[in-house]
C-alpha cells in the first residue's frame, strides 16, 4: 500500500482530544502524508492528539521521525519533570509496530494505550 488513509475524530476528555486514526504502512513513501495530516489538524486548532495505530502493520524509521515532528508541532519540547509528551499519545499499536516501538525505546517518550476511553481521559 503506498498511501495512508486517515480518520479524524474529535473527543471531549479533560481537554478536547483529536483522535487521528491511520491505516496503511508508514514508511519512506508515506510518512509525509501523516506529517501533513497532523499539521492540518493542528492548524485547525488541535492541541492534544491521540494517534490510533490500530491500522498500521508496518512503521519504519521514517514513521518515527514523523511522530517526533508531530510532537514538536504540538510544542512539546522540554516538559519539566517528565520525558513524556503531554500532547501526543499512541493508541493500540499492532504487534509488529509495538515490537519496533519497544526496540527503539519510543515507549520511554510516548504513552501507549490499548483502551481508547482510557487514553482520551489521560490527557
Amino acid at each position: 500500500m503506498t498511501t495512508l488513509n486517515f480518520m479524524v475524530g474529535q473527543e471531549q476528555g479533560n481537554v478536547p482530544v483529536t483522535v487521528l486514526r491511520v491505516e496503511g504502512d508508514i514508511d519512506a513513501a508515506t510518512h509525509k502524508s501523516l506529517h501533513d495530516k497532523a499539521a492540518e489538524v493542528i492548524e485547525a486548532g488541535s492541541t492534544h492528539i491521540l494517534l490510533d495505530l490500530g491500522g498500521v502493520n508496518y512503521m519504519g524509521s521514517a514513521g518515527f521521525r514523523a511522530i517526533h515532528a508531530i510532537s514538536n508541532m504540538l510544542n512539546d519540547g522540554d516538559t519539566p519533570g517528565t520525558m513524556k509528551s503531554a500532547h501526543l499519545k499512541l493508541l493500540n499499536p499492532t504487534d509488529a509496530v509495538a515490537r519496533v516501538i519497544k526496540t527503539l525505546g519510543f515507549d520511554v517518550y510516548l504513552d501507549i494505550y490499548q483502551d481508547r476511553g482510557e487514553a482520551i481521559n489521560s490527557f
Binding site: D78, T103, L104, G105, D107
Partner: protein
Amino acid sequence: MDTSLASTKTRIATLRKCKFLQGLKDSVLSDLAAKAEILSIDGGTKIITRGEDGSNMYFIISGSARVHHGEVVLANIGTGDVFGEMAVLDSEKRSASVTAENSTLLLVIERDMFYESLSTDPNAFKAVIHGVLQRGRGIIREVKTRSTKLMAYEKEMEIGRQIQAGFLPKSLPVLENWELAASFVAAREVAGDFYDVFKLNNLPLLGIVIGDVCDKGVGAALFMTLFRSLIRASSLYGNVYSGLVDAEPGDASITADEVLQNSLLTTNRYIATTHAGSSMFASVFFGLLDTESGELHYVNAGHESPIIFRQNGETELLDITGGVIGLFPAAQYAVKTVTLNNGDLIFAYTDGVNEAKNLQGDQFGESRIMEATDPRDISPDNFLSIILDAIYEFRGAAEQSDDITMLALKYRLQTSTA
C-alpha cells in the same frame, strides 16, 4: 475531413514542427494532414501504455503530457512534440507510457496510412530515415552528457563514502588480557552505521560504541559523523564543561557512570535542540569497560541488545536502558553494569545483521547469531568471520540492503609463565 477541431493549416503546421518529418514535401504533409484524425482528451487520461502494442503516432497540437514509467517521469512534452512514433516505425511494444497533464488536442496518424502517404513521393522515405537518424544522434548526445554528469556525481559519492569511512577507527587499541575485533561491511546505498573504540584519559576504561542513524542516504551519513564525534568528544573532553555532571578539571574520581551519563545527555540534548527540525535519531550502545576488573558499565539507547556469551555456555542480553538519542531534549538514560569474566565474549551489532533478508524475505534474526558457533574456543576475529559467513550463506542471492557492523570483545587472562 472534419476540420472543426483543427484546420488543415494547423494540422500541417503541427506536422512541420516535428523534426523527423521536416524533409517531407508539402504535398506529402498535406496528404498526412488529411488522413490524420484529431483526438481531444481530458487531463489525466492515459494515451499509451508501456509494453502494449500500438500502431498510432501522436502529434501534440495543444496541451501537455508526461512520458513515464509508472511513477517515474521521463519527460514532459507539449505543443509540437511527437510521441508513439517509435512503435509505429519499428513495430515493437510501447517503450513508455504517456498521460495527458491537461486538456490536450492530438493529431493521430496510423501506421498504414503513414506509409501510404510516404509512398506518394519517392524521396519521402529517405527524408524520414534522415530525420529519424538525426533524432537518434541527438538522443545519443544527450545520454553522453547525462552519463558524464552521473559519473561526476558517483565520484563525489565515493569521496563522501571514503570520508565517512574515515570516521571509523583506523585501528583498535591493543590491550592486555582483552581481544578485540570489529567489522564493517557497507551497503551499496550510503547508510548511517558507526562504531568506535577508544581509551579514556587517565582512567583504566575502554569506550565501546556501536550505533545506527535512522534512514539511509547522505542525511544519515552526515548525522552519523555528528553523533559519533559528539559521543567521543563528550566522553574524552566534555565532563568538566557541560555542567551536567559535577567534576573538577583533572578529577580522577569521576566514575564510568558519570562519563556515560554526561556523554549521552550532551549528545542527545545537542542534537535534539540544535537539529530539532530534522527529527534525526540514532540507536546507540555505549559501554565503558574497566579493563582491570572486567566490569562493563553501559547505556543501551534503543539499540539491538548486545549478547554476552559466557564461558559456561549461557547467554545474556544487554537490553535497552533508554530510548533512541537525538529527539527529545529531556531524555534520561539509565546506566547498568555487568561483569565479564575470563573467557566471556560480548558481541554488539547493528540491524544489518539480524534484519539481513534472504530472497524469501525471511530475516536472519537473533537466534541465528546465537546458534552460529560456540564462541568459547575462538578469537573475536574468528567469531565475526563466522557470523558474516552465516549471514552471506543465509542471504543467498539477495542484495545487502543495510550496513553490517559488528564488534566483539573477549576477556582472556594471560596465564603466567613465571
